[in-house]
């Protein structure tokens, strides 16, 4: 198996707070890795760091053998890592179609002159962008297509916003897709359906997936491997059963008196 992402001794601190400490982590091509951990464990920070939105204070991130440190987020996306956000951040006033079209920016290249002269290349590329967008949206059944295409993202229900976020990430044609709590706020039926789709992301679309999730059913059902973080450090790694039976993990989850679910 090919090592897709290799993270070595990654650390970051905000002021005095060590959000991540000496984290080692790797993802092989074609894996689905679940990242779990109590609130504030540093999971989102971990994603922010891979996607270039936060710069690590120390450590190395290798993607396909090349370092990502110091790249701007758009360059990271360009190299093939896409992400979703925990607190859904769609372009609320753009239509559903536009949301997915705009995220193909880094895979397309027509410039202003093409648009002004309405060249053949421009028309073809626009058609291609639109076709891709509809294909990606079609992944979620009929929910996001049809009359929906021209509606602003702000009218979508919460679950559909989450789906659109995933579609938007898929449209960047990544190799690795980072999902931050994809089923948060969904009911059991919806999350079961999305769980199925996550496996399909790998099987049908060929993406490698890293997923942060609090819902243990989802994590168990799709993950090949699970990593548990706490206080910015890796507590345990391995199959779901190994990790979930690890005493340190149990303590991290149960040992906290007042825990709120995100």
């Amino acid at each position: 198996m090919n090592r897709l992402l290799d993270i070595q001794r990654l650390s970051v601190s905000f002021g005095g707070l060590h959000a991540l400490r000496d984290l080692n982590f790797h993802v092989d091509e074609g894996e689905i890795v679940g990242v779990i951990g109590p609130n504030g464990a540093g999971k989102t920070t971990f994603f922010n760091m891979i996607s270039g939105m936060v710069r690590p204070t120390a450590g190395e991130i290798l993607f396909e053998g090349e370092s990502l440190i110091g790249l701007d987020p758009n360059q990271v996306t360009q190299r093939g890592i896409a992400r979703t956000f925990q607190n859904v951040r769609l372009f609320a006033n753009m239509t559903i179609l536009e949301n997915v079209m705009v995220s193909q920016h880094c895979r397309t290249k027509q410039n202003a002159f093409g648009a002004l002269l309405n060249t053949k290349g421009f028309k073809e590329e626009e058609a291609e962008i639109r076709r891709n967008a509809e294909e990606v949206l079609g992944f979620f059944g009929t929910r996001l297509v049809g009359y929906r295409l021209e509606q602003p993202a702000s009218v979508l229900s919460y679950a559909n916003r989450r789906r659109l976020e995933i579609a938007r990430a898929m449209a960047t044609r990544p190799k690795l897709i980072l999902l931050d709590e994809p089923v948060a706020g969904m009911n059991p039926k919806e999350s079961a359906e999305l769980t199925g789709l996550i496996s399909k992301l790998r099987d049908d679309w060929g993406f490698t997936v890293v997923m942060i999730e609090h819902d243990m059913n989802v994590v168990r059902d799709v993950s090949d491997r699970v990593v548990c973080l706490d206080y910015g450090e890796t507590l345990a790694q391995g199959s779901f059963d190994e990790v979930s039976n690890n005493p340190a993990v149990i303590e991290a989850y149960l040992g906290r008196p007042l825990e709120k679910k995100a």
Partner: protein, 598 residues
């Protein structure tokens, strides 16, 4: 939106007295301010209706009418109780108006008694004269019934049948417009001369006829027909729509080409000015409206365009230019100007592009000032002649036809070509890869970045496109005026263009066109007179007030971009959509309320 608000009936005097006091107080304050700002005196010489009404008096009358109308206005919300429209509204309006009139009356008495002329320039006998209609001091009291009557009319608009209300408004507007735009109307259609007296004052008889025509138009259902045509146009889709749009464009173009042929100099000059500011506004619209970058130093690009053209074409360009420096014809200079403007765009854009949006605004404003100060300075005097400016910029010569300031028609045609070009550019870019990226950056910059958009490049592109459009305007301006001075490029220009874009509708091309026509056409540019020449003293005040009012009441502008409306009225929009059942509630499964739904 249909409301099921419950209706309550209230007695005529069962008013919300606090609201009366508030609106009345505002009316009084407003009227006193208008009087002390000198509008009645300054505008009195402009007679609208022969012997009966001057613009000065109109400045004192309109407020009561509007405040009276506001008094009766209620926002209806689902499930709330509303009051049945009744004579109560008229009474409320009258009370508000009366309070306003009282304010004016007291002002008159005070002017008569005390002398505060020292700080307040309009605390003058002339003002008193207007307030008393030339009679004794006691006459000021008539303002109370006058304003009360106007307020009552304003309030009564709520209870009149919609047609009557519409007819009243149409009549008032028709008469006022015909009177105010007298010069323009006669300039374009000289046979209409007969409506006016020698001094372009509307004759009373014709004023009544016009009012009657307006009323007739409304009652014959003319307004509805117009609305129907508009709705039809909106509802057509596909090739039919393309055909209709094309026809519309051809017709507008034809009208625009013909008007300057039949109209006089005033109109031609006006249209040329509108065009120059439209070009600027279209450029700023790309920067502010589409990419969401608030550039307050936009005038810098206008200045760069003007100066580059002047330096490259004028023999008086300053002595320190090296001997090999070329003198080009206008169109040759334009090519260079575009290049220089893009470079300046990059130069100013690069350092500011990563700043927080509001810092960027102030820093660009700083750049705008720096560039003007440099053009003005002794240091570069040898190049730009400092305050004397560069004179003798030759006309733009196209062989068959020469564009020069003394022939505003030629300027207009040139501007028309460039405006068409800029509109085409804006329209094509809006619906392209770059335009979508601009939108994404405007919505949420860091997410746009995470979705693979190089936000720096995309924003710089907006800067450069904006700079190029502004430099067109500057180049034409140089050829039109024939000379270029630093004082033509004050920050004021940036702000006025911003007002045009905002009043028209940020991000809306049609809105920007409408904004330029209405604002530059009526009020005028920073130095250029509009149709209301008498307003030149007051126009900056009005620009400021408009900016505040638009931001508070209609941030999306007069002709909004659909998208922008949603953004600025998010909550209302969602509520509307919900009422119309448009919001998706998750279809088969009920949506689970996540904690983060905003």
């Amino acid at each position: 939106m249909t409301t099921t608000a419950e209706l309550v009936t209230k007695g005529a005097f069962d008013l919300d007295w606090r609201k009366v006091a508030r609106l009345g107080g505002l009316t009084a304050l407003g009227l006193v301010f208008i009087a002390l700002a000198g509008m009645p005196v300054g505008l009195d010489s402009r007679i609208l209706i022969e012997k009966y009404l001057s613009l000065g008096y109109v400045s004192l009358l309109w407020l009561s009418l509007i405040m009276g109308w506001l008094m009766g206005k209620e926002t209806l919300l689902e499930g709330m109780t509303a009051t049945r429209k009744s004579s109560r509204d008229a009474v409320g309006g009258a009370c508000v108006g009366a309070l306003g009139g009282l304010g004016l009356a007291i002002l008159g008495l005070l002017i008569n008694t005390f002398d505060l002329r020292d700080p307040l320039v309009n605390w003058s006998p002339q003002t008193l004269d207007i307030l008393t209609f030339g009679g004794g001091v006691g006459v000021v009291v008539v303002w109370i019934p006058i304003c009360a009557a106007l307020g009552a009319v304003g309030g009564a608009l709520h209870l009149a049948p919609p047609k009557v209300a519409k007819a009243t408004i149409a009549a008032i507007l028709t008469v006022l417009m015909t009177a105010i735009f007298a010069t323009f109307i006669v300039d374009v259609v000289s046979p209409l001369d007969f409506l006016y007296s020698k001094n372009r004052e509307l004759k009373l008889g014709w004023a009544l006829v016009l009012a009657a025509v307006a009323v007739g138009f409304v009652f014959s259902g003319g307004g509805q027909q117009l609305a129907r045509v508009k709705a039809d146009y909106h509802n057509t889709t596909g090739p039919a729509k393309t055909r209709q749009t094309a026809a519309l464009i051809v017709v507008s173009a034809a009208v625009l080409i013909i008007i300057p042929q039949v109209a006089g100099k005033i109109t031609q000059e006006l249209m040329a000015n509108i065009g120059i500011f439209l070009l600027l506004a279209l450029g700023l619209n790309i920067v502010v409206g589409m990419a969401g970058i608030l550039d307050l130093g936009y005038v810098a690009f206008f200045a760069v365009g003007g100066y580059t053209t002047a330096v490259l074409t004028s023999p008086n360009r300053g002595e320190d230019w090296p001997g090999w420096f070329p003198t080009l014809p206008w169109w040759g200079a334009l090519m260079v100007t575009v290049v220089v403007a893009s470079l300046v765009g990059l130069f100013i854009g690069a350092p500011v592009i990563r700043m927080r949006g509001d810092y960027l605004a102030i820093v660009t404003l700083g750049f705008g000032e720096i560039i003007r100060i440099l053009f003005l300075s002794d240091w570069l005097n040898g190049y730009f002649n400092g305050a004397q400016g560069i004179t003798n910029v030759p006309p733009a010569d196209f062989g068959v036809f020469e564009v020069k300031g003394t022939d505003p028609r030629s300027v207009f045609y040139l501007v028309l070509v460039f405006a068409a070009l800029s509109i085409y550019v804006s329209w094509r870019l809006e619906h392209s890869r770059l335009g979508r990226a601009w939108m994404a950056v405007r919505e949420d910059e860091s997410v746009a970045e995470a979705m693979g958009i190089n936000t720096v490049n995309v924003k710089l592109a907006a800067f450069v496109v904006g700079a190029i459009l502004a430099s067109f305007s500057g180049a034409i301006f140089a050829a039109k005026v024939g000379s270029i001075f630093p004082t033509s490029f004050l920050i004021l220009v940036s702000i006025i263009i911003l007002v045009i874009v905002i009043v028209g509708g940020m991000g809306s091309i049609l809105g920007v066109i409408a904004g330029s026509v209405v604002l530059v056409g009526i009020l005028g540019g920073p130095k250029q007179p509009g149709l209301l020449q008498e307003f030149s003293q007051y126009k900056l005040l009005i620009y400021g007030a408009l900016l505040v009012w638009m931001m508070l009441q209609r941030p999306e502008g007069l002709v909004p971009n659909v998208r922008r409306t949603r953004e600025l009225h998010q909550d209302e929009f969602l509520q509307d959509a919900w009422l119309k059942g448009q919001v998706d509630t998750g279809e088969e499964e009920p949506a689970v309320e996540g904690g983060e739904v905003r």
